[in-house]
Subunit: 476 residues, 2 copies
């Protein structure tokens, strides 16, 4: 996942929750006799899928498909490695998945997308004073580089944007080091995305941001950052928790800290890329779609196994499971492997722009981009009426202990659909360590577990198949 979701999305979620709890307002009408009848109908209709749900779960978790999504993921990531937006590796990854899903027997096509092409180049950060020390670092996506000789400057260490403002006069000509504590990702990521511009407004020459993570083994985390329009672009990188704390302690002692930062980072013209679209056509309403997705691009470190190879692979696995069982739903199951999620949901946004004319045909959109560890719940955004249907659907997941339906489905790539009112689902997994590995060299197959991926695949398949096969589309 990337850093975008942001305030408009959260506001939408909040309003949805309010409405879903109030039983009134423009979406949820008062309960009347026909509603009750309809509700009784949907309970029975969904309950009739118990056998097929059990078959899907058995096949995915205990049957011939066991560990298939893990094997596919390991072969894919081991073969390609990481796949940053604009890179040759991402092109290879798209080719790989096009061919692999075609060989698996599916209809697959590519839809063009223009994507950012930022290149890291060589980079280093070195503490010169009070003593020589290499600082592990990763430049941030979209950062400008330094001059070839680097930027050598005194450091100002702050713990918050507030402290930066209070000490604004000290920032001129300095490298600002942000040593903000980790609260949670959505809140703390603001330092990564806005730190450079906030410091540049005060005359800073570069920024080094403490990595956005609760835990570190001297491991820097990269990620996208956003220059504010009209503010000077200064180089920006993440350093480790350890080194941010080290410099903070030194500053507290009144020591003068000098750092030399070298970054070759640059942005090239946008590159040509593709969303990869794989389908099982619906037998009755082929134009109506349940969309499942994950993103194929990753950062240029690690293997992008967790973010988001796993999400892509379980979304492919759904189609394989349904096909293996000889099933075909009323509506189309469409798996999309997004390109260029990390620079801010570029693939998802362009897909939405190209398809929004048919918005009413999108029954539900799903994205898995928060890890494929043990699933604990389905996250869902939709009207109260749609939620009532989904409450029945998740009951089918009792065999894998994932019958909880939570509020707000999320996903950078599907957020344009969510904002347009399309029902949306995402996967809530046991993710306590997700941000330890996120955007680091540690995002590899070693963090993935075949059984956990089986469970995710089973959940994803049951939800997608049943929603695609119900007599009616989810109510808006």
């Amino acid at each position: 996942m990337a850093q975008k979701d942001g305030l408009p999305f959260l506001l939408f979620m909040f309003l949805s929750m309010l409405l879903s709890q109030s039983d009134c307002g423009p979406i949820a009408g008062p309960v009347d006799a026909s509603d009750t009848t309809a509700q009784k109908g949907i309970v029975e209709e969904v309950a009739n899928y118990r056998d097929v749900a059990n078959k899907i779960i058995d096949l995915a978790v205990y049957g011939a498909a066991q560990n298939r999504s893990y094997r596919r993921l390991s072969k894919f990531t081991d073969t390609i490695g990481n796949r940053v937006s604009g890179s040759h590796n991402l092109e290879m990854a798209i080719d790989y998945m096009f061919n692999a899903t075609k060989e698996d027997g599916f209809d697959v096509h590519l839809e063009p997308v223009k994507i950012p092409h930022w290149v890291r180049g060589k980079e280093s950060a070195e503490m010169i004073l009070p003593r020589a020390k290499n600082l592990a670092m990763l430049g941030l996506g979209s950062s400008v580089g330094t001059p070839p000789e680097g930027i050598e400057a005194q450091v100002l260490v702050v713990k918050s944007f507030e402290e930066l403002k209070q000490r604004g006069k000290e920032a001129e000509g300095k490298i600002v080091v942000f040593n903000q504590p980790f609260v949670n990702y959505d809140e703390t990521v603001a330092y990564r995305s806005k730190g450079a511009s906030e410091a540049a407004k005060l005359g800073a020459v570069a920024t080094l941001i403490r990595s956005i993570t609760p835990f570190s083994i001297n491991s820097p985390h990269t990620g996208w950052q956003d220059y504010e329009v009209g503010v000077k672009h200064i180089p920006t990188a993440c350093i480790t928790i350890e080194d941010a704390e080290l410099m903070w302690r030194m500053a507290q002692r009144g020591q003068v800290i000098v750092v030399r930062l070298k970054m070759e980072a640059k942005t090239l013209p946008d590159a040509d890329s593709f969303n990869t679209v794989v389908e099982i056509k619906g037998w009755q309403y082929p134009d109506q779609v349940v969309l499942l997705s994950g993103h194929l691009d990753s950062w240029d470190v690690g293997e992008g196994a967790m973010d988001d190879g796993g999400g892509a692979m379980i979304s492919w696995e759904v189609l394989s499971l349904i096909r293996d069982l000889g099933l075909r739903p009323r509506r189309t199951l469409r798996t999309v492997f997004w390109t260029a999620e990390e620079p801010g949901g570029i693939g998802g946004q362009q897909y939405f722009d190209q398809h929004k004319v048919n918005l009413s045909n999108f029954n539900m959109v799903m994205e898995s981009d928060l890890g494929t560890f043990t699933p604990v719940a389905l996250q869902f955004t939709g009207t109260p009426a749609a939620r009532k249907v989904m409450q029945e659907v998740v009951k089918l997941l009792a065999p894998i202990n994932a019958t909880t339906l939570e509020t707000h489905g999320e996903g950078t790539d599907i957020s344009p659909f969510i904002n347009a009112g399309v029902p949306a689902a995402s996967l809530h997994v046991e993710d306590s360590r997700y941000f330890w590995f996120h955007h680091t060299e540690g995002d590899t197959m070693t963090v993935q577990n075949p059984h956990e991926m089986n469970l995710c695949s089973a959940l994803w398949a049951v939800v997608a198949y049943v929603v695609a096969d119900l007599e009616s589309m989810l109510p808006r």
Copy 2:
């Protein structure tokens, strides 16, 4: 801590346990009336230290000394950085601690030690086939280097020494990658210490060992290794869990893997160094000693805060606490900061050789080298009679919930004393993450916690002071 403890030590422990449980044999005689009287005497004698123990604990955990050992450690590690055997940094560290303890008001002197001087130099490992990938690595202490152009060879991946033997004919001319699972440190470290020689016997040209850790964020762990006499010395380094597993998966698929290893590592002539000895002289028996210790050297990565800056600092803190309270025990409290523990307890061994003529004066030896996290128990090696005394001493630790006495005190530097029958104590802490950081760039102040260090200091001080002040030395 380093890798040495080994089989002779374990054998000794096992025999000690047998004897302590059997109530017979040369050490533990049958209980008679005089034993019972003596036991009653020691119960009362130790119980009389309750007030002084509480004062020590209050001062260390809640009083003016609160967080002092943490502050000292952070200033020390932030100022010096890491301190590998033979390095200028280690010389600076010894100077620093000599001056700091002198300024703190103690008698301090240096005792010369000849120590190994291994230098890492530049190093890299790169996978060439089946695809280009940088492999995070750390050469192992005492390893030879490669030729300047490196060693480029096909890889043989094995999971165990047994598999290596079974596939012995495949090793000729290859780089052997050990992808052994982590069982526990004492068992699994054999791959690091013996892997190179075992592979060299079969004609391998280099070895890459999966780091000895249960957890990784692509973090390689260094450590000492031992060439077997008469076996060719080949370059050896640790790689990450992630890359060892990656190459194992590739090998399982039948892919040819080629790696290029470059290491400038070399061993220089032994260097001059010192154990640092700081004392509070006993008022009644100044020649009789309770020795407390930690080691000042570290690996050449991270800050050596956990291994073993923390152990050194709490051993200094004991003297400061006792002095602050105006106490002076009957026997001498001697804090020793060992040099060159990591290459195999060099400082400890030479100290033992120089002082073994006075072995009977060493009342108890203590080493903290397993972390200074929340203390849970005192580990102790000694006769059953000595253990009965220590059972009473640990009761004084009730205010900090550390009244458990466990078998076998340990510590690389004090092991010569233990093998010679001197009572020995070490600190058992909540160390579930110790080996995550051990010998990595992640061994920094970030893993240390001031309150936990206060608790360790309190325990260490109560035990050392009371044992040094009892009317009699611990029975042998």
